[in-house]
């Protein structure tokens, strides 16, 4: 999976944010897929081919933390980048402790976003390599 062209999922209830983020990611050469809610993602998304998930912390219905909890059950963890318009320390710490790649406060710059995305992709590929090696060992 090449870095450029990595598929990134955006989950945000605000269409304006979704559209902007999707554009930005695409402009940087990523693939972007947007969902308006966690439920939407879980029902329609293809997590297996996903490099990382950018998710809003709070949305109607389940939010980013709930998604993180669900994804921690997946054999290969999908790196999660949290974004929020209403940041607070406990949530940030909780997300980070649970292994979030980053926790970005809106509005965030492209440098912040891409930095986080790159780190996520690195984590993702590392774990993918490990998995691949383990396959090979067998």
């Amino acid at each position: 999976m090449s870095r450029n062209g990595a598929r990134i999922i955006v989950v945000d209830d605000d269409i304006s944010v979704r559209r902007a983020l999707s554009r930005l990611l695409i402009s940087a050469g990523y693939q972007a897929q947007t969902f308006e809610s966690v439920r939407d993602l879980l029902m329609n998304g293809e997590l297996g081919r996903t490099a990382c998930v950018i998710v809003d912390v709070r949305m109607p219905g389940p939010g980013g933390l709930e998604l993180q909890e669900i994804l921690s059950q997946v054999p290969v963890p999908i790196p999660i980048i949290f974004i929020t318009g209403n940041p607070d320390v406990p949530t940030a710490v909780k997300a980070m402790k649970a292994g979030a790649v980053d926790f970005l406060s809106k509005p965030f710059s492209e440098e912040e976003l891409f930095g986080a995305v790159e780190r996520a992709l690195a984590l993702r590929s590392a774990s993918t390599d490990q998995r691949r090696m383990a396959h090979r060992r067998r």
């Binding site: 607070d88 406990p90 940030a92 980070m96």
Partner: protein, 234 residues
């Protein structure tokens, strides 16, 4: 795979290994909690609480004072105020990381914000507590930190042993090892090194012996610990 991942958390060194040492109890005399806070009364109250919980505590009023202190090799964790006069808690965290003296850290702060907390967590902090916090919250964080510290210490010791074993390998043996962990067969190694398969077999046996491993898988894990990348095969 899950098993594999979990194995990551246990020591790669067999339990009977001579290098494994140190008591596993949280409150042993070899474990210490360093508290760095510029507020005298907070230092005192934290120290009092943790001593009451059976911990050994040393307090410092600034990052500089802490860095100047000669730290003995003990299981340790750091309770660190984010805002300090001079270098901040985050600066101290970075400095320790860069000095390769990273220590499980619990940040405490009265004026925390989200970027600060995220940075601290990215830097490997165990927790980021906002004042006022519950005493038990801190103690449980300290316990986690000490556990992490113990684990890190054990890993460090393990790496040291592995490194020593590795150091005993000859250049040729190292070349063989790198190819073995890359998953090549003896024949392939021999081809790669331009040596006889038999010779490779002997080298391989010596590597296994010197590294004190039974299987290739153990060898792979060990070499990963000390950062030996498998050779890229063409």
């Amino acid at each position: 795979m899950i098993h594999y991942l979990r194995a990551d958390r246990t020591s790669a060194v067999p339990k009977n290994a001579a290098v494994q040492g140190g008591p596993a109890v949280a409150t042993g005399p070899d474990s210490v909690v360093y508290v760095v806070d510029d507020d005298e009364s907070i230092r005192r109250s934290l120290a009092r609480n943790m001593r009451a919980a059976g911990l050994t505590v040393e307090t410092f009023s600034s990052a500089q004072a802490f860095l100047a202190h000669d730290l003995p090799d003990r299981v340790a964790c750091l309770v660190l105020d984010v805002r300090l006069p001079g270098a901040s808690g985050l600066d101290l965290q970075t400095a320790l990381l860069e000095a390769n003296r990273a220590m499980p850290t619990i940040f405490i702060t009265g004026f925390g914000n989200v970027p600060m907390s995220v940075q601290a967590m990215k830097g490997g902090a165990i927790d980021f507590l906002q004042k006022p916090f519950d005493e038990n919250e801190l103690l449980s964080a300290v316990e986690r930190a000490l556990a992490r510290g113990r684990q890190a210490r054990a890993e460090r010791a393990e790496r040291l042993i592995i490194q020593r074993r590795f150091d005993m390998l000859t250049r040729r043996e190292r070349e063989v090892l790198e190819l073995v962990v890359a998953g090549l067969l003896n024949k392939q190694i021999a081809f790669n090194l331009g040596a006889a398969e038999k010779t490779v077999k002997i080298h391989r046996g010596r590597v296994m012996h010197k590294m004190q491993v039974e299987s290739v898988a153990d060898l792979v894990r060990m070499t990963q610990r000390i950062g030996i990348e498998p050779s890229k095969t063409s």
